[in-house]
């Protein structure tokens, strides 16, 4: 996809408690692109994101970002790498003892020596970008789910990261908030010239905004392509996922004992 990608994943395997979670994953994330990793709950999407962030070490293979293999970095190296990343957690993960303003200012105060006047202007600009300048004095407990997600988004891009990761950014949002967040993700990616990775199972909203999609199931990549290619795909799994069909390769019924046996019926 690109000669100089920001993130490369090669032959990534991860086993947890003897259970293979990721198997032979190969992905490429070119600079400036917005890429989605989709799949059902429990297919290994978030685990993959945690490998990119350096929270987990692979059993085999590697994640390389900006020329450096993540799991080979020591703590200082990993922290230096994380300063180039931003991550939006599923429910925002805002610091509940800090106001909206302080949440967004947090990284600036921790990682820079900027005077408070400049931090103030930067925070106001970030909050303005997500439409919540007026909510700067509110506490996280006073925000709706969509507002909390937008504040978290402002905090994620506070230091203009090279790589922005989104873990289920659309989960639990009403339709308006969902569109707003989707639009913000695309606009922020383009405005900052960043590379974004969205882990989600919200197919309709994601296909509207992303450049490329990887589909995962049971820890492996089962399909990949542009949104148009996936919409036109005749692969059973992709068709079931994209069109939300009840039955297909992903069965409606969880595997269990014989139905008649469970109901204690005699043959």
């Amino acid at each position: 996809m690109s000669l100089n990608p920001l993130v490369e994943i090669r032959d990534l395997n991860f086993t947890y408690d003897k259970r293979p979670v990721l198997q032979g994953i190969n992905m490429t994330f070119p600079r400036g692109k917005l890429i989605a990793i989709m799949g059902l709950s429990g297919c290994g999407k978030t685990t993959l994101l945690r490998h990119i962030g350096g929270a987990l070490k692979p059993t085999k293979g590697y994640v390389r970002m900006d020329g450096q293999v993540i799991h080979e970095l020591d703590q200082d190296g990993l922290y230096a790498m994380r300063r180039k990343m931003g991550m939006l957690f599923q429910f925002g993960a805002l610091f509940t003892d800090m106001s909206v303003y302080d949440n967004v200012a947090f990284q600036m105060r921790e990682h820079t020596e900027l005077p408070e006047e400049i931090i103030h202007d930067l925070v106001i600009m970030k909050l303005h970008a997500v439409g919540l300048r007026g909510a700067q004095h509110m506490m996280p407990s006073e925000l709706s789910g969509g507002m909390a997600r937008r504040v978290a988004l402002a905090r994620t891009v506070a230091l203009d990261p090279m790589l922005i990761m989104y873990d289920e950014p659309f989960a639990g949002l009403d339709p308006i908030s969902l569109t707003v967040i989707g639009d913000l993700i695309r606009r922020l990616n383009d405005a900052l010239g960043a590379t974004s990775i969205i882990v989600t199972h919200d197919i309709q909203e994601s296909l509207k905004i992303v450049d490329y999609v990887y589909f995962m199931a049971n820890g492996v990549i089962v399909a990949e392509g542009t949104p148009d290619e996936l919409r036109a795909s005749d692969k059973d799994f992709v068709r079931q996922f994209v069109h939300g069909e009840m039955d297909g390769p992903v069965p409606f019924h969880y595997p269990g004992a014989d139905y008649r046996q469970d109901l204690n019926l005699r043959a």
Partner: protein, 262 residues
């Protein structure tokens, strides 16, 4: 094989206990190693001093007053049998400064501030705030744990001192104002008998040790809590139970070291 199962269960518990002791020790040293940044930004410790120390003052003052009043009442009844009512001030002061001040204040601190610290950090973990901090390249031990640890260690001697001071006042109210013990002998005998190095310093050392242990247990339990409602609830309970037992056991050890033969 029931015997095998019992042995396996005992072995599992022993291994778990040894693992936890190792984990707490490692956590303690990491806290010390990463404490530098919170001393450079002392406002972080001051913020925690307010929530752990200042917010515990009311319970300490009220409890101290009642404990002192009970000591005054019980002390008077006992000393009266030997005609030594005038030594009531000494008895109340030594009981509080040497033992009850540090111990009861630490028990109250564990239930009020310790449980709050565990619940707060456990919930921060459950709501991914700690993961978010790590992803922002901010060390949570340096940013969350260290300021709370030092706030706990610093607050405890002040809370114990406050407990003892209010307790002595409670003993005075009952002994002198209500019962009528001579005020002059109440204060003068206290002043003559209570030694600064022997009694007050040892009480301060005790409260520093209790503050360190209680805060460490509270922070470790919060940090180690499974990120679920049940996990946080269990961790909070463990903080109060483990801290209380640790305070009482350490009190015996410290008392034996400090006052043996004194």
């Amino acid at each position: 094989m029931p015997v095998t199962n019992i042995l396996r269960a005992i072995g599992g518990r022993v291994v778990d206990a040894v693992w936890r002791i190792g984990a707490v020790t490692r956590f303690f040293f990491l806290t010390l190693i990463y404490s530098g940044s919170c001393f450079r930004r002392f406002h972080l410790i001051i913020k925690e001093l307010f929530s752990t120390g200042v917010m515990s003052l009311i319970i300490i003052v009220v409890a101290g007053l009642f404990v002192g009043m009970v000591l005054g009442l019980q002390g008077y009844e006992t000393l009266k049998r030997y005609g030594s009512e005038s030594a009531l001030g000494v008895m109340v002061a030594l009981s509080l400064v040497r033992e009850m001040g540090p111990v009861v204040a630490a028990l109250l601190f564990a239930s009020r501030a310790g449980s709050a610290m565990t619940a707060e950090i456990g919930l921060m973990k459950a709501t991914e705030q700690i993961s978010a901090m790590e992803m922002m390249a901010v060390n949570p031990i340096a940013r969350i744990v260290a300021p709370r640890f030092w706030a706990g260690v610093i607050s405890m001697p002040f809370l114990a001192a406050m407990f003892s001071a209010v307790g002595i006042f409670g003993g005075y109210l009952v002994g002198v104002v209500q019962i009528g013990v001579d005020e002059g002998s109440f204060w003068s005998q206290m002043q003559a008998a209570v030694d600064f190095r022997e009694d007050i310093m040892n009480g301060i050392i005790k409260s520093l040790v209790f503050g360190t242990v209680v805060t460490l247990i509270a922070l470790f339990e919060g940090f180690d809590a499974p990120p679920t409602a049940e996990g946080v609830s269990g961790a909070t309970t463990r903080t109060v139970v483990t801290s209380s037992l640790a305070i009482l056991m350490l009190d015996f050890v410290l008392t034996a070291i400090m006052f043996r033969g004194a």
